[in-house]
């Protein structure tokens, strides 16, 4: 039981320094680990409970979008570029990491409004709600990864040893997705426009990012790709898996730093503004 006195006062967080705010956030997250896990369970089990296929829906959705691309690629309408590995592996590996980002950001942005009444009636850590929403994204990512492993077995391919570093790339991807998710969840609570526009935006972003095709060498997309941190993450995953080295290390490291910076900044943003959620939602 914590005995310390709490004070509610307008703008009182603004008076503290950024470092002490970050410490406050770290303590809050640590203290609420179990709550976060319970909220994840609430979210996760409830999603799949009243359906016959249950958890298998997590497989089916990425399969359908992958199937579309395989079809387009096979019929020559859509060219993925000069790819040396079997296209299904190439595409599924890319799409699974992309989905990690997209489900993180979308479920993060929805985390607050989905909870509805609870938020205006009970005082509990709002950050836990957003972090709990990551759980579902990670689970469906892991399921897709299992499919990737099956594909490797099917094509009798062996990834390079550097593949062991690939799990580390999950960290900046989640940091970026959760970072945007945090700040969008607050804006979404105030004005619902975000929830409408975000899925469209994410789909658009996916076509903009070389997830299912190779990095373009010409045209405007080349420039866009150069400044797209997501491109560096996804190409790093493939580089390490198929080639065993990073082809663009500088871009990758800058993107990692950028992601962590975004995450810390949005975490502060969330902390400073979360007191306004209940009254505006």
């Amino acid at each position: 039981m914590n005995k310390k006195e709490i004070t509610y006062e307008p703008d009182n967080n603004l008076k503290k320094g950024y470092l002490s705010l970050l410490r406050e956030i770290a303590v809050e997250i640590k203290e609420n680990r179990w709550l976060t896990y319970q909220l994840f369970k609430r979210d996760f089990f409830a999603t799949y409970k009243q359906s016959f296929f249950g958890i298998f829906w997590a497989f089916i959705v990425p399969f359908v979008s992958l199937g579309t691309f395989l079809l387009l690629n096979a019929s020559g309408i859509f060219s993925a570029g000069n790819i040396k590995v079997p296209y299904p592996i190439y595409a599924l590996l890319g799409i699974s990491f992309w989905n990690l980002f997209s489900t993180t950001i979308i479920s993060g942005a929805d985390a607050l409004i989905k909870t509805g009444e609870m938020l205006t009636k009970i005082n509990f850590s709002r950050k836990s709600l957003v972090f709990a929403s990551l759980g579902t994204a990670i689970i469906s990512f892991l399921l897709q990864l299992i499919m990737v492993i099956f594909l490797f077995a099917h094509f009798k391919m062996m990834p390079k040893p550097a593949v062991l570093f690939v799990p580390l790339i999950i960290i900046p991807i989640i940091a970026l997705g959760a970072g945007f998710g945090l700040v969008l969840s607050i804006i979404n609570a105030v004005t619902r426009d975000i929830g409408k526009i975000l899925p469209m935006l994410v789909t658009f972003l996916m076509f903009l990012t070389p997830v299912l095709y190779e990095k373009p060498k010409l045209g405007i997309l080349t420039q866009v790709t150069k400044y797209n941190p997501l491109y560096y993450f996804i190409s790093a995953v493939r580089d390490l898996t198929f080639n065993g080295f990073l082809s663009e290390p500088k871009g990758f490291y800058i993107s990692c730093l950028f992601s962590i910076a975004v995450f810390l900044f949005t975490l502060l943003t969330f902390h400073l503004t979360e007191t306004r959620i209940a009254e505006r939602i």
């Binding site: 004070t7 909220l39 009444e117 205006t120 009636k121 009970i122 105030v190 009254e279």
Partner: protein
Amino acid sequence: MGDVVIRAENVSKKYCKTLRHSMMYGVADIGRNLLGKSSRPGKLRKNEFWAVDNVSFEVKRGETLGLIGPNGSGKTTLLKMLNGIFWPDKGKIMVNGRVGALIAVGAGFHPLLTGRENIYINGAILGMKKREIDKKFDSIVEFADIGDFLESPVKHYSSGMFVRLGFAVAVHCEPEILLVDEVLAVGDVNFQHKCLRRMADMMESCAVIMVSHNAQVIRFICDNALFLNKGQMKFLGPAAEGIDEYIDFMVQKALPEHDKMKLNASYSPKVKIEEVRFCDAGGNQIRDVNSGEALNIDCRVKVTEPIPRAILGVAFYLDAHERSFICYSSQIGRYFDLSAGTHIFRTRIPELKLKKGVYHLAFIVAEKNELASHTWDYPAYILVKNPKPQYGFYSMDFSFELGKPAVS
């Protein structure tokens, strides 16, 4: 005993009337905070108003404070600020100890999850740790009394079971400060008693702040009362005095409404009530009466078709739904042959032993039996006052004496 666990200093909260402005202001405030600037919370913008305005009080451990006031007076908003759900726009709230809220029991339940799953999740949301819930689990289940339903999804629960489970989890938090918002109005009588007993146990070690429209509950349970109207403090002090202030205030508010109501509020084509007068024993017209004194009611009715053997009646309602007293002429064997034309029907009550409050009267002209009424619900109000302290629901004559036990 004695240490202050919750203190509010000049607390204010503003609300916005329109959704569009609320969205705009929300974005603007967040923007200013991000830039490290104050959102200037102390100023009202267009379409904003103070929902809670400059409220100060403190509650010590072991004390109970009742929040009273008409609808929309800011009671719930104040309670949510004490809980940290809303933050004040002006002033300061200091909370010292674990806060438990019986504001919306079961609000965190997910309908698809089982009772067992929901106990853990809701417990976590309310601030309990796993070990704590493990330890209290059996006690929670026993208190909720949901039997075999523990493993069923909550959506298959009856509404009573749902609330019982919610309440059971909430009271097991062992808070040092308990916030209660009208939750006792749910569940059956046995469960309500169980909850009250449990709350009484908790009150010994807790500071309690409760919202209730039920004046009796506040009078019995609370030490002090805070009476809010339109967000402002009208009274802060001993509960019994606060309740009196509140009832007087509500009466003053209700009486002018009586005058505005239309006189032809009749549901019958045969009878129309034209005027109602309240008089004392001396025949002087009155608007209020002391409990225990005489009340004469003159009701002028216009009868369009003759009604043979009519039964006359008067009903007194408290709070619009509590039917405190009804009398029919048939009870004393009186029936009236009403001819077409205007009549005055007089009701005489020599001793009006009603508890204090504002009563809404309904008049009955019935044919054949008491239920076949012709006129019902003519809007008239009478205020029953009582200068002496009065407790409970009824006002009766009583005496006390001290005797000696018989020696055997």
